[in-house]
Symmetry: C2
Subunit: 210 residues, 2 copies
């Protein structure tokens, strides 16, 4: 692309550093910013700038936070006996958005992946161990990706924590709600048959919420 | 989506104001910014902020510009007898990127669209008239969208300018280079047959450039 304005070129250049944004999409965004009032663009850039400079990680669960203890860990209404172990903050947002979980979280910051150079030291496993030992956590709910790396991480943590009085569970794997059997992959389908539930356990989230 | 951080929520909110950006994409962008160094995010926000505050429109052609006369209008190497009339600055960038055009531009800022309340007064037509009258422009190349509104705009300008000694041309319409005949719409195909060219006029852009 050839630009007659260095200002526009720089802005397009910066936007196209974002994931999945090519030059054309970046240009569309820049033109949208040009249509906005100056004050609106200031609000936009200030929100991004403040977030990057002021955001911290929660000392306890490593979730992103505006303060050293995040709003979830600081909430006295949350069940402190349950800790849901997730890979990243996107998973926290996904689970929080279901509004069905009232325990705490622990963000690992990734999953074990030797090929990518991610070993146990790169993940927040030591602090999880300390939490379990010191804070009366009764259950660790492993909510990691259903991949080889995710499963490896689950097994690794289970082995490391086997002397602690904590129950380790994993989120249910199976056919997604609204999913069609014929399009499920073989492994998921096979596992969902092997791990079938008696009908009295067949409660939907809606029933539980009512 | 439920966020545990107001800073992240604000940033996602701002990103999702951009065209074609939903909450999930916005979150992915925000997380990317979080991965960047603070200085890199400053470069990002400064580029956007400077662009919005410092960018002006060229006095002559209404293209976006860093100065009151844009680099294209100021370039002594450009052919001042040709003015390519386009709808918006995206079209200028598209034509400039072909590196095949060496004349000047005139950005109308839209096309006639009575339904959207866009009449001749909303477009930069008066300044185009002045340019043609005062600056020795010999040819206006109309490069507007191949739509009813685009064609209407071409006819309107042609009528308004009929007493001026200027030649008005339109860019060629037809089957796109690399396009397949069977997928062309009927109107394009019909017009490309009606406006067929003798073989000696059949020069590709590549031949012209060599």
């Amino acid at each position: 692309m050839v630009f007659s304005s260095k200002l526009v070129e720089d802005a397009v250049q910066e936007f196209s550093r974002l994931p999945g944004i090519g030059k054309k999409t970046a240009l569309r965004m820049v033109l949208q910013l040009l249509k906005m009032k100056e004050g609106e663009v200031d609000t936009f850039t200030n929100a991004l700038s403040r977030m990057r400079h002021e955001l911290v990680f929660c000392d306890t669960c490593h979730n992103v936070s505006d303060t050293t203890t995040c709003t979830i860990c600081a909430n006295p209404g949350r069940d402190r006996s349950q800790v849901c172990v997730v890979e990243n903050i996107r998973d926290v947002i996904a689970i929080e958005s279901t509004k069905q979980y009232s325990g705490l979280y622990h963000v690992l910051g990734g999953i074990l992946s030797p090929l990518d150079g991610i070993g146990p030291e790169q993940l927040n496993i030591t602090t999880l161990h300390d939490r379990v030992k010191d804070s009366g956590v009764e259950e660790l709910i492993m909510a990691l990706s259903p991949t080889i790396e995710g499963d490896t991480t689950v097994y690794y943590i289970a082995r490391q924590f086997k002397d602690l009085p904590v129950r380790i569970t994993t989120i249910a794997r199976g056919i997604a709600f609204g999913g069609e059997l014929e399009y499920a992959d073989e492994m998921t389908l096979a596992r969902s048959i092997a791990k079938r539930l008696p009908i009295e356990n067949y409660v939907t989230v809606h029933n539980k919420a009512n």
